[in-house]
Symmetry: C2
Subunit: 457 residues, 2 copies
């Protein structure tokens, strides 16, 4: 475990590690589908123009070019174009921007509000470090409306994510939720109109601390000491219930947008207290870097692993996608699957019960019995039991050792008279068995992924 990737920032898993990742992916898919989210995938490649539409993030983007550029079909060929040609191709760095493009392109074929989940790799050319890879998997859910999108979807998305994360083999977590309207309304109410600037400073709170943030607000945004202190007071509010509303009101700021934000955040927290108790906090320090958020914003920490950074982030965006006058407001959250799985594996938080899907190895009595062994295997497989057949009629001890080395729990023997026996090679128990009836214990039928707490010490 925790081997070093042969290419820094591009993690690869061993088969037993991949089973943990697959379990995470399957679990997320199951929960998302149970809530009516359908799957889509977008191409890995976007035009540079599309990717950079939303601001200064091009440092992170991997551009594409054909290794040999003596092709004649230069039309869509980025290698002919300058690096910053908006038609040049590049790898997507998240799933939100491609999804917005997909919605606009396919609006005529989609039923709105459109609910989708999307689980794909994304690439960022950042310096690799713990919790930050250059190639990683994200699992996103979004609901997008045509023209308008009821606020209730903000509440729903938070609840779906809380349910999905609760189903994973990970430590306890907290969704830290804030609302841009609340923050921006408050800043306006105290006379700070460069609300994006204030948010950028507040976003640094955990990194540089309150006194340096106050300095930033004063030097960069010309805030008075009083304004800076008020902004910091707001960011200091953190409640597990709706009492944040009273705490904000006690700061004595009055603004219409602030009231709207307070009411929205109150609705989210109220529902979460009831339906996902202990999983959600109102945290008024949450700012989120990206400027397209317009309401609810969310970050998520693993309790005891806070330094890992947010494992699930997102929020409400009212104008990410538009087509002429038609707007597609949305709300969505994105789980950092690779960040989660890396942490699970590096700290042995969960393990697969074995390293192969195989339940049974059918041993060969002699070299001519391969056909009969295949018949046994076919019967077991037809009932959903993953089965391999030995390739060589080695001594039984060797065939059992082979199963043991591969992590296969059962070995099947058929003697020359056609009598069948199956051996649990963990216990050594061996018993008569019928290929059309025998089933393994249910915990052996498929690979189980269990948290460390649930594993025998």
């Amino acid at each position: 475990m925790a081997r070093t990737a042969s290419l820094s920032g591009f993690p690869e898993w061993l088969p037993e590690e991949r089973l943990v990742e697959l379990h995470v992916l399957d679990t997320l898919r199951r929960v998302f589908e149970l809530h009516g989210f359908g799957s889509i995938e977008t191409r890995a490649v976007e035009t540079v123009g599309q990717l950079l539409r939303k601001g200064d993030i091009d440092k992170e983007v991997y551009g594409l070019s054909r290794l040999q550029d003596d092709e004649t079909d230069a039309g869509t060929d980025s290698s002919k174009a300058g690096k910053h040609d908006p038609h040049a191709l590049a790898l997507h760095f998240d799933l939100t921007v491609p999804f917005a493009r997909y919605v606009v392109e396919n609006a005529g074929y989609l039923a709105f509000p459109f609910r989708r989940y999307q689980i794909q790799k994304v690439w960022r050319g950042e310096r690799p470090q713990e919790g930050r890879a250059r190639e990683f998997t994200q699992a996103d859910i979004d609901v997008v409306g045509d023209g308008e999108l009821p606020f209730r979807y903000d509440v729903e998305i938070a609840l779906v994510i809380a349910e999905a994360l609760s189903a994973l083999p990970i430590p306890d977590f907290r969704l830290r939720i804030n609302n841009r309207k609340l923050a921006e309304g408050f800043y306006r109410g105290i006379g700070l109109d460069d609300t994006a600037g204030v948010l950028r400073s507040i976003d640094k709170l955990e990194k540089i601390g309150p006194s340096k943030v106050a300095e930033l607000l004063k030097t960069e945004l010309d805030a008075t000491d009083e304004q800076a202190q008020a902004a910091l007071k707001l960011a200091g509010i953190r409640t597990e219930d709706t009492s944040f509303v009273a705490q904000v009101r006690a700061l004595g700021v009055s603004n219409e947008l602030l009231e709207e934000g307070l009411s929205e955040l109150e609705q989210v927290i109220e529902a979460a207290v009831q339906r996902a108790p202990g999983k959600v906090v109102a945290d008024l320090s949450i700012a989120r870097g990206l400027d397209y958020y317009t309401g609810t914003v969310v970050e998520t920490v693993l309790v005891g692993h806070e330094q890992l950074g947010s494992i699930c982030s997102g929020g409400r965006y009212d104008a990410l996608a538009s087509k002429g006058n038609r707007k597609f407001p949305g709300v969505g959250l994105s789980i950092g699957v690779t960040r989660l799985v890396s942490r699970i594996l590096s700290q042995d938080l969960a393990k697969a019960s074995r390293s192969v899907p195989t339940v049974v190895l059918v041993a060969l009595t002699n070299d001519d019995s391969w056909g009969a062994a295949q018949d046994v295997a076919a019967q077991l497989r037809s009932r959903g039991i993953a089965t391999e057949v030995a390739a060589k009629a080695e001594k039984f001890g060797k065939q059992i050792k082979f199963a043991d080395r591969r992590g296969i729990p059962f070995v099947w023997f058929t003697d020359d008279d056609g009598n069948h026996q199956v051996k649990d090679i963990r216990s050594g128990d061996q018993a008569d068995a019928d290929p059309v009836r025998w089933t393994p214990p249910s915990e052996d039928l498929s690979v189980q992924v269990k948290t460390a707490a649930a594993l025998p010490a």
Copy 2:
């Protein structure tokens, strides 16, 4: 359906099309796992040196570079390096070369023979055309040995693939199987020693026809007319049983390698006739472009869609991966998932029974009933029934219309007294229902993907 991709060669599916693709992927995974193949994924990115190790394929490769190259960590940064720097990064163009690297890197952690399946996207900068995309998904299975790999795995791999393809919603198919030893031994036996050259010419048989291949053999390889005719006669042999052996022998060529190849191909066809009747042919015209194959070679056609090209190809390679003196021979096949799915969709060969996972929409009687509706939804979901809750308490007719537009078959109503009813909006049938007991008909529980033949006209 069959919309044009907004970026040529990079297909994207609508949600109901993606359900067909998901069905194909889930089916392949299920069959592979039933046969004991475990999942791995490799990074999308390899070094150019690794990718080009196996010959002249660099025309197809997409190189990567950081859009902004003012970074200081030039160590692994391809943008600093020349395009043909072997340390530069590029997207993988298949899954075999990355898998070989993975095996060598992780040999100490794997149990051999190592069986894996790998389902991932690959990229080739080729000119897009029907059946050939620039971004597409492959599904590979391989078995790799440490030092040696019994020939029986060649037989097994062919049978697993025949079973996997049979489980897909596609037309009938044929695995066309040949053996490199057979062909090379035959060519040597008739005095043609540049066997790779002969194979390259024979590979063009379907494209340019036998007389032009004969010309090629004579002009490029100095073959006599007799040699050219013998090579073409061999390539003309095609049998659904093991009678090809007698037909080859009748050509009167004697060579040790030829005999070995005949015996190997006979074993594959013999097993296939019995276990996958009608699915496999011995086709001695199959050459395969890649030079790393050393025995069994396979291509697969969809019957009635032959012009689509091979939908599943591969074979035995004895020296693709090595680590010092240690060799890792393997045998594997690769299914062109995107090619198959594109054809299924463009010709309506199969369809999803609905376009969303959702079975039930819980309607809102009034705006305050959202919480109670969520309780009903949670009860249904806890029993595996995918459920959405309406976001607004519109008139029931409007909520039913919403479900209809999204393709949701059932709408759930709860009156103010807490009485529940569920309506099948296709038939209009409405009946009392209990959220802790009601289940939909099994064919409605999850999305079904059925072939056109199985669909009502």
